[in-house]
Symmetry: C2
Subunit: 494 residues, 2 copies
Amino acid sequence: MAAAESKEVQGGLEWRVKVPEGSTAKMESEAAAFERAAAWLVGCMVMVRMKVVGTATRVWRIGADDPRKVMHGLKVGLALTLVSLFYYTRPLYDGVGRAAMWAIMTVVVVFEYTVGGCLYKGFNRATATLSAGALAIGVHWIAAKSGHKVEPVILGASVFLLASTATFSRFIPTVKARFDYGVTIFILTYSLVAVSGYRVEQLLTLAQQRLSTIAIGICICLLVCVLICPVWAGQELHLLIVRNMEKLADSLEGSVEDYFTEDRIADPKSTSPSQKSQGYKCVLNSKASEDSQANLARWEPAHGRFGFRHPWSQYQKVGAAMRYCAYCIEALSGCINSEIQAPESIKKHLSDVCMRLSSQCSMVLKDMSSSIKAMRRSQGIDLLVADMNEAVQDLQSALKALPSQLIQGTASPQREAASDEKHSISVTATLPLMEALPLITVASLLIEISSRIEGAVNAVETLARLAKFDDPTDDEKSEKMNNISNSEKVLQEV
Amino acid sequence: MAAAESKEVQGGLEWRVKVPEGSTAKMESEAAAFERAAAWLVGCMVMVRMKVVGTATRVWRIGADDPRKVMHGLKVGLALTLVSLFYYTRPLYDGVGRAAMWAIMTVVVVFEYTVGGCLYKGFNRATATLSAGALAIGVHWIAAKSGHKVEPVILGASVFLLASTATFSRFIPTVKARFDYGVTIFILTYSLVAVSGYRVEQLLTLAQQRLSTIAIGICICLLVCVLICPVWAGQELHLLIVRNMEKLADSLEGSVEDYFTEDRIADPKSTSPSQKSQGYKCVLNSKASEDSQANLARWEPAHGRFGFRHPWSQYQKVGAAMRYCAYCIEALSGCINSEIQAPESIKKHLSDVCMRLSSQCSMVLKDMSSSIKAMRRSQGIDLLVADMNEAVQDLQSALKALPSQLIQGTASPQREAASDEKHSISVTATLPLMEALPLITVASLLIEISSRIEGAVNAVETLARLAKFDDPTDDEKSEKMNNISNSEKVLQEV
């Protein structure tokens, strides 16, 4: 009998029908064959339907999670429709003629999700077309003067040389980051003009026509991109950093809470790490998007609360400092979820100090996050950092006290039985260092994390200075003054 | 007097001339002004020269470090020169006419550094042009039948709808990874054909011409890309993983060596972390390049020792497992370079076991690296992992013994003075846990790293199975048989 089996292979469907050797297959009735075919068909349809529904749900969610993506699609449609008006409106069409093709091409390749992307591509396209066109016309003119036989040689050699050099220049990091698209357009324009075979006079008309259509395309792109629900790369970067810092705070607090709270003690195996504690993973892999957004943000004009020369590169440094914390939180979460676990009796000795430290760290991070979000210097960051350092010292004292506590705990029943000196040494040896190891590591990593958070605090302070963050508002200031005068009063009373 | 000062601002040069208020400046002689101008000019020229030389050196190094990048530039030049032959060779030019422009455009945008990139773009361009062209001609035909007034409305609406939908589809991860370029070309081709205003018969001729020129462009690209020093994305990914694994091994061994060796003891402040120990940093940030290379490698045909359906995605998993180790090595190096350091007297108790464990871990990583490099199943990986686990157990025993060792060490002078039980308890409390903290953390992180390396071993085993790595060579096998028969002999003798 033939057996049909379905298998999902890399997102596609593969139907395999096994027909064993022998002639039994030939003798089966037509009805059975029909039934089988029907079953196969129904199975197929069900699979296809499930796949379609699944894909549709996923796609719907992309749009629902961020409606700006849908809006971007509509904006591209609008820009293209506007540009195609050039074909339908007679007077305009007569003006630019067939070159209107270049306006459409420009809109399709220049329109990007962010304003920065649009400006980057638009600027690159315009500059590259202009410079390559001018250069090509110049070379063309020289070649035309050199005689009929040498002309193709000069033009061919210049294409080869320029294309090779320009392509190689794309491997230079600065060029790659800022002018990658421009280099492509430069090569394209130069080759097209150099080998077009037109006379120089024809070329000048053509160039003027083409430049004006490209300019029209870029203008339409920029207008639609900036005027209708603009997405600014700078703002995206700003929000990404703010969001990541919050996630870092939550995941640090969440991990340590997960480790020490009662629920876990009651049933240590079943509780998986909470959603909240996994946020640091976003920070681990955010370098690529931070870099690209910072690159695009440089092209953007002043917008919202961001000035023209807003220090975008400092955001990258804040991001790097955050990742530096995230690596350590990753190691921490590895320890927390490792198989060897400290017994609860030992854990409870450090539970309070560790949780206090982690919540202090988290408060520092949250304060920074809200300070960046509001673009206002934080009032209380110094105080919070001081509190965090105090919590570090408390944890260190608790660690110092740990051995005696543990030994007293374990040694007390034996101490009653025997009291000669030799025995007390053997009691000493029972300090369960191995059992306490994960706990001690967690504590030590927390101390390391707090010192890395101080690095992030410094990076954010530099950002506040460079980006000229507002001073704390007057309300807050007066509150602070009140606090100070109160404390002065207290001092005077004392 | 005016003072000129030069300052490098973000890679550019900024010359600032301070002129203090007052009239003294006006009274200086012309000779002084000339001298100043000359000095400024010379300074300027020196700066420009230094900048040019610096940039030239950097660019030269890019080419010298990887000559394939220079070769890529030459290949692009060659492909473009080949394509421009169409303009100069009369018979060919008469065949394709002005549409030869599309061949040049195709070469410029399709030619990529890797064969996979070239194939990805070539396939996308061909498919998208074909499908969008067919669709556009169909819609054009329907619109033409609908009458003169409705025609632009139908065409405009179809452009708007298709462009919006296609642009939105680029946000779907699968489309983004595999068909991003194709979607752009789809929108471009559809818009150009739909609004071109030609009659359908003209369009068919045009489409046939354009398709053939695009095909010529893609063929030239692929031939030059594959035949002259091809760079395969798959091979690059393979080598990247091998190299990163070696770096991981070196940096793990290097960090622990740095920490425990005598040099550092002699002068703990001056020794910066060695170059060797910093290799893990490459692994931390390699996700983006691994992902893009794996994406491009899927488009490549069988080449070298890589079959057509080589499991490229498993390389990504191996990469992820390596990054998982790297995070922990990062935390380890943080502990090693932290300000608080364990005294050497305490360090020496764990020095040997820690260094043995790190060198065992490093051997496992190096064995995996050479196994992947040779695409051959490793003979001794199980043994090495067993050795590593043994080293872990040794370290754990050493940690267990640590408290008593430390206390004996610190307590011995006091023990002679007093020997009542109460005193021995106060001696217990002097266990310098705080001082030993960095050391204990290093040990604990080493244990965690070894368990993460086991995860990497599993990922590599899966890769070996999926990619059908060779079994160990016959030579190695016979060696192994010899060993077994020897041990059997020994057993018989016993």
